[in-house]
């Protein structure tokens, strides 16, 4: 039997799409989402102050994404609409991370099967609970698969290597500074230099906060926290040459515009 010219089997089409999406995602840097003593911590190397990879969705729900900026931005906005409309229709406590993860899974899955190009994104939806046992972290991939992660999730380019390093340092109920230290250890290649505070996007869902749990850690607050993480680790070591006070002029390497290029 002869196949018509230009025929590609469904298996082949799916494989190609997945391959395409994976390549797009692999270009971006990783993002770490993990539990700590008071909630959930998000850490992303991101030199841009305007194009966020981490965002608030609702009172207890946060969002992190890697890949193409325009694609995950539209997912983020849709998530905010979903959360706000449900919270307004029913009650604020009726908006759940599980519902949001399902919504994203449907949309991602639909685009993966029906469009020529799947979305080149990987996202995390995290919800902080009243107690640590009720925290939830969902990881969603470009094809709409949902993974219910325990304690931590890594998305983006070198996800496997990063999560391997994160597992070495991760403990349950780490205080914030130590959790940040673990995340930075995981995000830094062995022998590599840690990103400066200006190159980092850090946020928490802190269960002890009132009303809205999401809080971005920026400026002096983040710097203090970073100082805490670096100081206690090398206690015996004589202090090396102090780092220059002035921050680097610009980010090293290419600026991640979020376009995935």
């Amino acid at each position: 039997m002869s196949m018509p010219f230009g025929y590609a089997s469904p298996e082949q089409i799916m494989r190609d799409r997945a391959e395409y999406a994976r390549k797009g995602i692999a270009r971006g840097r990783s993002v770490v989402v993990m539990q700590y003593a008071d909630g959930i911590l998000f850490v992303a190397p991101n030199p841009s102050k305007a194009l966020h990879k981490i965002s608030e969705i609702y009172d207890r729900i946060g969002f992190a994404a890697v890949g193409r900026y325009n694609e995950f931005e539209s997912l983020r906005l849709a998530g905010i609409r979903y959360a706000d409309i449900n919270g307004y229709t029913y009650n604020r406590s009726d908006v759940t991370g599980r519902g949001l993860a399902n919504l994203y899974a449907q949309q991602l899955g639909m685009i993966f099967t029906e469009s020529i190009k799947s979305l080149e994104v990987e996202i995390v939806v995290a919800e902080v609970g009243e107690e640590p046992e009720r925290d939830q972290i969902y990881r969603l991939t470009f094809d709409g698969s949902v993974f219910d992660e325990q304690g931590m999730a890594v998305i983006g380019g070198q996800a496997e290597a990063v999560s391997g390093r994160l597992k070495e340092r991760y403990r349950e109920g780490l205080p914030l500074a130590q959790a940040l230290e673990a995340a930075l250890f995981a995000l830094t290649e062995p022998g590599g230099e840690r990103p400066a505070s200006a190159q980092l996007e850090v946020a928490v869902l802190d269960r002890n906060r009132e009303h809205r749990k999401f809080l971005r850690l920026t400026g002096p607050r983040l710097q203090r926290l970073l100082d805490e993480t670096t100081r206690p680790t090398p206690p015996a070591e004589p202090s090396p040459a102090p780092a220059p006070e002035t921050p680097p002029i610009g980010p090293e390497g290419e600026i991640d515009t979020g376009s995935g290029e």
Partner: protein, 271 residues
């Protein structure tokens, strides 16, 4: 559901709601068979005054339907974001719904755009929502809010008043709305001191509410036997804070002790 993903218009939640689920808007356009008047609960007096580095808002706890007290412990002062709050007077049900929508509106913008609205922007947005309710107001479902916010650009508190047609009217120093507002305003006129500490202004507001309750039957005074106290919110650079019942009880006790010997409250110096 696709609407959620494709609607990429403005960051206004109200506009989105109008397109996505118009039935949920408090300002529905359907006409009432007969104007409602006194049958449904009305919220009464709200006062607000600026203090050093911020603003204080307080509201009594009474809701009335005509001559009936329909609720003794209604709450009429709502946090709308970290640096602002609204108090409502008029039809309680519409007012509560409006305050809830307004809170989502401010938050929605903040999350969509990654920044908070300016204080004027917040005040204007509320004006549009009140104007949208004009048709209902003409049928008796009148809502008039009072908006107070801490403006980080000025490092000061600001107060905005409205009428049924919208607004906003920025008010300097202090303002009050609701049935007891005339009495409360007269009281504040004599007791308000510019740049007082937040603690002093809280007391000024409580005195004004007491004076309003003294002369207006629809305004409730502090209920000492049931321990129902006015709702008091203080907004400064540290954000919105609603005073706990214990804190307010202390203020109220001090005020009542004073009024035991001087039933009309503190007097302002004549010269």
């Amino acid at each position: 559901m696709n609407n959620l993903f494709t609607n990429t218009g403005s960051p206004s939640f109200t506009e989105f709601l109008g397109a996505y689920a118009p039935d949920l808007l408090p300002t529905r356009a359907q006409a009432l068979a007969a104007p409602v008047e006194d049958q449904i609960p009305h919220a009464t007096t709200i006062v607000a005054a600026t203090c050093a580095g911020g603003v204080v808002m307080a509201g009594d706890r009474r809701a009335t339907s005509g001559n009936i007290i329909s609720q003794r412990d209604i709450e009429k002062v709502f946090r709308t974001d970290d640096y602002s709050c609204v108090g409502i007077a008029g039809t309680a049900s519409t007012g509560i719904e409006l305050a809830r929508l307004y809170r989502v509106e401010l938050e929605h913008y903040e999350k969509m755009e990654g920044r908070s609205l300016s204080t004027e922007g917040k005040a204007n947005r509320l004006a549009t929502m009140i104007r949208g309710n004009l048709a209902m107001a003409m049928q008796g479902l009148v809502v008039v809010p009072l908006f107070a916010a801490y403006d980080p650009d000025r490092d000061a508190g600001r107060i905005f008043g409205y009428d049924v047609g919208g607004g906003p009217y920025e008010q300097r120093q202090y303002h009050s709305i609701g049935s007891g507002s005339i009495f409360a305003r007269g009281s504040m006129k004599k007791l308000y001191r510019e740049n007082s500490s937040p603690e002093d202004v809280v007391l000024t507001c409580l005195q004004a509410l007491y004076d309003a309750a003294d002369d207006d039957s629809a305004t409730g005074g502090p209920d000492v036997t049931r321990k129902i106290w006015p709702v008091v919110a203080v907004i400064t650079a540290d954000g919105f804070r609603r005073l706990s019942d214990d804190e307010i009880a202390e203020y109220v006790q001090r005020m009542i002790d004073g009024r035991m010997t001087d039933p009309d409250g503190p007097t302002a110096p004549l010269r």
